[in-house]
Amino acid sequence: MKKGGLQGYVIRRLLYAILIAWGVATCTFILLRVGPISPADKYLANMSARTADPSQVVAAVEARYGLDKPLYVQYFDWLSNLARGDWGWSFSTSMPVMELIQKHWIYSFQLILLSMLFSAILGILIGIYSAVKPYTKTDYLATFFSFIGISVPNFWLGIMLILVFSVQLGWFKTYYDTGLTLFSLANLKALVLPVITLGTGAMAGYTRYVRSAMLENLRKEFVRTARAKGLPERVVIGKHVFRNAILPIITIIMFDLSGVVFGGAYLTEIIFGIPGLGRISFNAVFASDYPVVITITLIGALIVLLTNLATDIVYTRLDPRIRYD
């Protein structure tokens, strides 16, 4: 592959990503702002208990945040602020959106990262094992559990886990404790149930994909060549077969990161009371705190776009037959 080919491709894809992110931001802005409720009204509901004249408060708030200006002016103001890194003010939490996100992103990040690791590592290992010993008891057992894992909705799984392991057995707290130090064993323990909740479906899916991809590649003739060279079975399977089988799996895992996990993380955070971005945007929606909603939506969109791009790049690195021109 020519280096320039890939570079040009990446630049083109990044430009698309920016364009799409702008589209997403605009759509969210329109959906949230072209409604009957002004953000000021909500703010007002909170303030009115303390102030005598509500209309004064509305005017003050609208003037303060530019909400009295025409919508298109607000839109352009907001867009240029966004570009300058000023993500606005969260009405409902009374702090800059930037600060709010800085405080909370790590909770989502650790949950998603650990779930991805959990599902990818276990899924790949079980999948390989099933493929190497197909049609044995272990393989059937893995098949059985992966079908269950795929079909169980993760919010239901989360609630069941809480009922059994937290309520009945008392092994875990029913609620995520925000007071924990982030990189501690206690924190890791608190994340066990959320990670299982979020990761199980994907893990079960990967098991199936890996199993079938490994079986498919085990039948290929280059496997016979590898054995004829005298390579030990560990290398034949772990290098020659696995490197071919993992190509489609990587795409699936990375697409999952953007799709399933983001959706699932939202629910998981709510079930377990984890103060991550999913939970914050959930609260912000009910508070009509549009700068928060828009920013989190935008971050989500950007991550989806960037992982897709990363997937493509990783794929070219791993599969020499793919070209971008």
Partner: protein, 333 residues
């Protein structure tokens, strides 16, 4: 004088399929001598590949299973020796080349890596040394601009060049025996000739022992020292190239030779008898070739012919040549 390097004794291989047990190799014995090129010839499906794969225990199992016999190499019976002993022999002492170079190379590794792999494994070379040696091997088998191409992937090569890569990889550890299973069948005629030149060089310059498998008598003329003719899972005739080309004795061998040089003619000539191609699931009780034989005897349908010596080294499994029958002559029944 015993310079036998590989001895296959009464090899039996079955495939257990849904339709029944395929007796792909049914009691075959042959010797391979040091420095000779031994050619295994026979129609498609007669069990040639199965024999070759059995030598290094590379059959897919299931469905394939070695039911009996011995394959003696050095002091080992390759069919029974422990796996790690076998792995020291595979690629190092006995190397193999397959029919389809496209699918036999791993698409996600560079050709250099794939050639170097055995050098690192068996000769314990470091990465740089192994790559340097790989480069020399690529030059040896006639890959042009080898230095530029060593980091290319298999799909960037033509069929003939890929087969050269396979050969380079097989030769990397300087094996004692090279098994080549129809290495030219997937290639077009001019490329085929070039690849055959490499094999001729190997034979002439390196004096390598080569087990060469083909369905085409024309390919082996002038290359083979000795020829083993297979039909329906059994060896029907063995002899020096001279014996086979000048005095073909088994009716099947004669059929093969009559049809030279065109391969398709073999089929035209031999297949018109409806239902005649023996099913290896239910082979004929007597001689496998009996249903298609032009000079069968009543005995052929029921009694399996033993191998008999026609002259010196030349053995044939045919009732026509058995001492008890020779008197009756070669009259068609």
């Amino acid at each position: 004088m015993d310079n036998t390097i590989l001895k296959v004794k009464d090899l039996k291989v079955h495939f257990f399929t849904r339709h029944g047990v395929v007796k792909a190799v049914d009691g075959d014995s042959f010797d391979m001598r040091r420095g000779e090129s031994l050619c295994l010839v026979g129609e498609s499906g007669c069990g040639k590949t199965t024999v070759a794969l059995s030598v290094l225990r590379l059959l897919d199992s299931p469905p394939g299973k070695i039911m009996g016999g011995e394959i003696l190499y050095g002091g080992d019976d390759l069919l029974k020796c422990p796996d790690d002993r076998l792995r020291q022999i595979r690629g190092n002492k006995i190397a193999m080349i397959f029919q389809d170079p496209q699918s036999s190379l791993n698409p996600v590794f560079t050709v250099g890596d794939q050639i170097a792999e055995q050098l690192k494994l068996h000769l314990k070379l470091g990465h740089r040394e192994a790559m340097e040696k790989s480069l020399r091997l690529m030059e040896q088998v006639g890959i042009p601009r080898a230095a530029e191409r060593i980091n290319d992937y298999p799909h960037q090569f033509s069929g003939g060049m890929r087969q050269r890569v396979m050969i380079a990889a097989a030769l990397s550890c300087n094996p004692e025996i090279l098994i080549a299973d129809e290495p030219t069948t997937a290639l077009d005629t001019t490329v085929k000739a070039q690849i055959m030149d490499i094999f001729r060089d190997l034979k002439r310059e390196k004096n390598m022992s080569i087990l060469f498998i083909t369905h085409d008598m024309g390919t082996v003329a002038g290359f083979a020292d000795r020829i083993v003719v297979m039909y329906g899972g059994r060896i029907v005739e063995t002899g020096s190239a001279l014996d086979i080309f000048d005095h073909p004795t088994h009716p099947y061998t004669r059929g093969l030779l009559n049809c030279l040089p065109s391969v398709s003619a073999i089929r035209d000539r031999l297949t018109p008898i409806p239902g005649a191609i023996p099913s290896l699931i239910n082979p004929p009780k007597g001689c496998v070739f009996d249903p298609r034989c032009e000079c069968r005897l009543p005995l052929c349908a029921t009694v399996r012919p033993e191998e008999v010596v026609a002259s010196g080294d030349h053995t044939v499994a045919c009732h026509q040549c058995a001492p008890s029958v020779v008197g009756e002559g070669h009259k068609p029944s």
